[in-house]
Every structure is written in C-alpha cells, then in structure tokens.
C-alpha cells in the first residue's frame, strides 16, 4: 500500500519524466445504470477528459485546430461527454449564476485514485496506467457495481 504521506495512490504513469509542472489528479466515477438513484457531483476542475472519451475528444480538438469553430467544438465535447457529464443547470451560486464546470449524471461512487504535484502523463490515465493495487481496487469496485460503467477522469492543476 502507499506511504502515508503520498497522494500517488494507485497511479503508475507510463513515463518517469514529468511532462509539465502542472499537477494532475485522477478520479474514478461509477456511473449508475439508471438515473433514478445516485449523486450529482461537479466535474473535476480543469478536467482533460475521461479514459472512455479521450480519443473522440482528440478528434474534435484536431478539427478545432483545422478550422472548426469553437462553438461547434464545444458542442462536440458536450455530446462526447454526455453519457457521464452534462452542462451545469443544477448547481447555482447564491449570486444566481451556474458554475462553469459540467455536472455528472447520477453516480453511485466517486473517488480520488491519486494525484501528482507534476504532470507525468501526456494523455489521460486509463486502467493500464494504474498500479497493481489500483487495478485490484478498480476491479473490486466494478464487482460491487456490476451494471455500472466506470470512468477514469484526468484533471490538471493549472
């Protein structure tokens, strides 16, 4: 198990060299198979993508670089993330505005799998980027919630 002071948790990035000085965090989301139970939580601050949506989000990003309008890009990202996250019309500040982050659809669990103070992964964490202990925990959670979909969401600290 990890040392008491470590937030590395279950993360085993593919390289030992840091990619940047931004920190990174990885969250596990257990998406409920039905919408009638669970918690609505905020999307991780500065989330890059999830393991299940990264490839598709990259395609949208490349299209943006090749001239897709930002508005159209934003719509594509919303569509890609829609199985887990939707635009926030749920949590409103007492000043009357909705927070910019998206919110989850109902989840049965959410958990911080680990965090680094530097960025070590150029892309997003997937199951293969977890330690053996991390994979065992992921499998345990999948066993507990058999009909749920698990997502790993990678976020940067900017």
């Amino acid at each position: 198990m990890q040392s008491e002071k470590s937030y590395d948790g279950f993360l085993n990035p593919p390289g030992e060299c840091r990619v940047s000085d931004e920190g990174e965090r990885v969250w596990l989301f257990v998406r409920a198979p039905i919408d009638s139970v669970g918690a609505i939580v905020m999307e991780p601050y500065e989330m890059i993508a999830t393991d299940r949506t990264y490839d598709e989000e990259c395609v949208a990003y490349y299209a943006l670089e090749f001239g897709l309008s930002f508005e159209e890009y934003r719509k594509q990202i919303e569509r890609i993330r829609e199985p887990l996250f939707v635009p926030n019309f749920t949590f409103r500040s007492d000043y009357g505005f909705f927070y910019d982050e998206m919110v989850s659809r109902p989840v049965l669990a959410v958990f911080l799998m680990g965090a680094f103070e530097k960025r070590y992964h150029e892309q997003v964490y997937t199951y293969d980027d977890l330690t053996d202990d991390g994979k065992a925990f992921y499998d345990f959670i999948q066993m507990l919630y058999p009909e749920s979909e698990l997502y790993l969401a990678t976020a940067l600290e900017t």
């Binding site: 918690a39 939580v41 049965l108 958990f111």
Partner: protein, 196 residues
C-alpha cells in the same frame, strides 16, 4: 440491491448494509460511505498539494444522520427542543430544529451550503472535503431513529470500508444515512430550462 429496489437493475452486487427489519415508512433510505480528507477537517486551510477533494450536496430535509456526529446531533436536538418548548418543525433560519442541530453538531463534516438548486426550495447541506463517496445501501423503507454505523455493515461492507481507509493519507471515514432513494438532487438538463 435488485430485490430491495424492486427493479430489474442490479445496482449493488451484494448487500453491504444490514438494515433494520422493521420499517416505519415508504420514503426509502440511502447509506453512503464517505472518505474525508482528514487534514482538511482539522484545518480547512491546511496545505494539500492539489485540489483533491469533492463534495456531496442534498436537501437538508433528507438528512437522517452521520455516524461521526450522531451523539452530538441528538444532544443538540434535545437542547433545541427544550429551549423552544415547541414542536420539532419549528423553522429557524429555514431549518427545522432537527436540521439545525445536525448542522451545529456536524461541522466540519457537514455544513449548510450557499449553493442553490433551481428546482428545490429547501437549503442544501454540503458534505465537504471528500476524497470520495460510495453508495453502499438502498432500502425502499424508512426507519424510526436508525442511522447506519459500522456495526450495520456486512462482511462485504466492512471489506470496502477497510480498503478505502488505507488508500490515501489521513482518510477519515463516515457513514451518512439519508431519507429517500432518488438522486441526492434532481439533475437539471438544458432542455428543462427556459433557454433550451
């Protein structure tokens, strides 16, 4: 949890909470295992390397109990009832005596949030400083004067409890019991709003 929900979906493979056998209502009950970042409970300004916590939000009237604060909560509730010499639905600052006692006895594990929900008219309670949360129990009935403690966990529930406890530094675990089985707050989609 298939049997408990009376639905064709298996949300939780095996029972992790032993609920009482005698229910008193049909509101339903949820139990969440909470993993707090303990250093932030002790000092909310404590240095942590990154924004590594999340939070749960739910309407105040769904709160039944948190094992970490249950005794103080009940004590404060009794004090409030004595002090007002009236019924338990006295509203103080939009909270019932039960809810007010929960918040006063619950800090820093539990607070009233400034965040609002466009479809709810009750204040939201917030459980802050969480490494995570796990829904571990769903019952279609509600109970009189019952909240989940470690003693109510099954072997599988205890296994999850012990595993979560060991993963991240200063983890402090709690068991949150809520009324109702619906999502903690309603999800509002863009199509539900006027500007859709």
């Amino acid at each position: 949890m298939l049997q408990e929900m009376g639905a064709p979906t298996q949300l939780i493979r095996e029972r992790m909470v032993d609920f009482p056998t005698d229910g008193v209502g049909r509101d339903g009950t949820l139990v969440w295992l909470l993993a707090y970042a303990g250093q932030l409970l002790r000092d909310s300004r404590a240095h942590v390397p990154l924004e590594i916590t999340t939070q749960l939000l739910f309407p105040a009237d769904r709160f039944v109990g948190l094992d970490l604060t249950w005794e103080q909560h009940q004590k404060r509730y009794t004090e409030l009832l004595k002090s007002v010499e009236t019924d338990p639905v006295l509203r103080t600052n939009y909270l019932t005596a039960y809810e007010l006692a929960a918040v006063e006895a619950g800090r820093p594990h539990l607070e009233i949030s400034t965040i609002e929900h466009p479809q709810l008219n009750r204040p939201l309670m917030i459980v802050p400083h969480l490494y995570g949360a796990f829904l571990i129990g769903i019952s279609p009935v509600s109970y009189a004067d019952w909240h989940c403690t470690r003693n109510n966990l099954t072997e599988l529930g205890r296994e999850l409890y012990e595993r979560v406890k060991q993963i991240l530094p200063s983890t402090k675990l709690g068991l949150l019991t809520l009324r109702g089985t619906e999502p903690l707050v309603p999800l509002v989609l863009k199509s539900d709003t006027d500007d859709a």
